[in-house]
Amino acid sequence: MKQNAELIKYFPLGVRGFWQNVLKEHEKVEEIRIRADKPMMLKGNGKEWYADKQGQWVKEIKEAYSPGFGEIQELVDYWCKDSRYAYQKELKNGFLTISGGHRIGICGETVLDAEGKIQTIKNISSLNIRFARQCRQAGERILPCLYEKNILQNTLILSPPGAGKTTLLRDLVRRVSDGNEFSEGKVVGLVDERGELAASYQGIPQLDIGLRTDVMDGCSKEEGMIRLLRSMGPQVIAVDELGSMKEIKALFKLSGCGCSILATMHGRSLEEMGRKRMLKSLWKEKIFTRVLLLGREEGRFYSRIYKEADLPDWSTSH
């Protein structure tokens, strides 16, 4: 109930009654999708629901409530503290991270600059609200598999969106940083580009990410990794959602510096990863000695861990 009251704070006063009902079973809520003049959708326990006018969860689409464009603007303004100018970078990237680390994906009309790059998004018409949660048991069973001779192995966590890779990474960082039965506490450098992992607010992490964790918040992953390496002397570097060639190149630099790496990436299966050209060099150089695959089947989470010997040789495949 206390957490529910905390979440309600993220909504304007005038609509709190509605959101109180939506978030009544906040632990069930995984994702809330709001589209202008379209039924509001809720995802919970792996199933799709709708919210009615009072915010109650319903199964029937005819009972669903469709928020208007104005209501979306009101929410965005509230999350931006009526200061959209200050959130230009976030709006440009298509998401907002509010205090508490909750992430709101946004879509709308893009404004392009002279070079055709997105300058900002105006007339926001779709929102995807995802609540950050600290799950202190997430990494408990997985942690032993990540160590070999008491050394943390370079680990890549693969999963499709919504399967819990960020939650798992956060818990692993906390356990590695605080120390565990396999190793004493290590200095962890955490690159938190979107402010989801540490949920920093004005530079201070709001979630528990361990005693020895330094957070580089809001900067690009490739730059953050190199800066942390140069300035903070990390023993482990953690980074969420690798996706570009620049980031992969930065990983190569890290791998030769004696740091362990904990990283996540979007992916559905090992085969899919093997087909990505961008990752070929990663497999060839055997940067990651552990690959953890997360997923979800019929609403239940599963995880599979692959050690170096289990990983197929993709360095030559097309």
């Binding site: 931006c80 503290k81 959209r84 100018y85």
Partner: protein, 172 residues
């Protein structure tokens, strides 16, 4: 002797009334200058630190002493504390009650309250321009008040003294 004393008291009283009137005008000018300074501080926080409004209000509130600083800090506190109310609602409410006791004219009070309509732009430069417009507006009002005061000063003092003398003559 009593006549002389009475005359001095009447003329002095009338001159005092003139001074009081001018003092009120001077206070009004000071108030306008303070608001211009307040908006300039807010603009600086927005332009150079690229901070959202609550942060800008808090920083400006630290620099401005007295009731105005307290109001700015209160707005920041409520916005950051998750009160659920928008900047516009808080600004109108907080300044609305403060301005009821201020010496500003209704039009000037409305300008202060209407500031909330000049925020929330997506473009940083646009936001800065609107802030600059507001600052300029208050600077212009203060300047106009200063010029008026300069002109009025002699006239008011002369008029009050003359009225005093006229009273004395009538009574004598």
């Amino acid at each position: 002797m009593l006549d002389l004393l009475g005359s001095i008291l009447i003329i002095g009283g009338m001159t005092g009334l003139g001074i009081l009137y001018l003092e009120k005008e001077r206070q009004q000018m000071g108030e306008l200058e303070q608001f211009s300074y307040l908006f300039r501080l807010l603009k600086s926080e927005i332009s150079f630190k690229k901070q959202p409004l609550p942060f800008a209000c808090r920083c400006a509130g630290e620099k401005i002493k007295g009731e105005k600083g307290r109001i700015l800090k209160e707005i920041a506190g409520e916005m950051d504390g998750g009160s659920g109310r928008s900047f516009s609602q808080l600004w109108k409410e907080k300044w609305g009650s403060f301005l009821q006791t201020s010496c500003l004219t209704c039009e000037e009070q409305q300008r202060v309250v209407d500031f909330s309509a000049f925020v929330g732009y997506e473009e940083e430069s646009m936001q800065e321009n609107m802030m600059e417009h507001q600052i300029e507006e208050f600077r212009r009002l203060a300047e106009r008040k200063r010029e008026e005061l300069e002109k009025k000063k002699r006239v008011v003092m002369l008029l009050c003294s003359c009225i005093g003398i006229l009273f004395v003559l009538i009574l004598l």
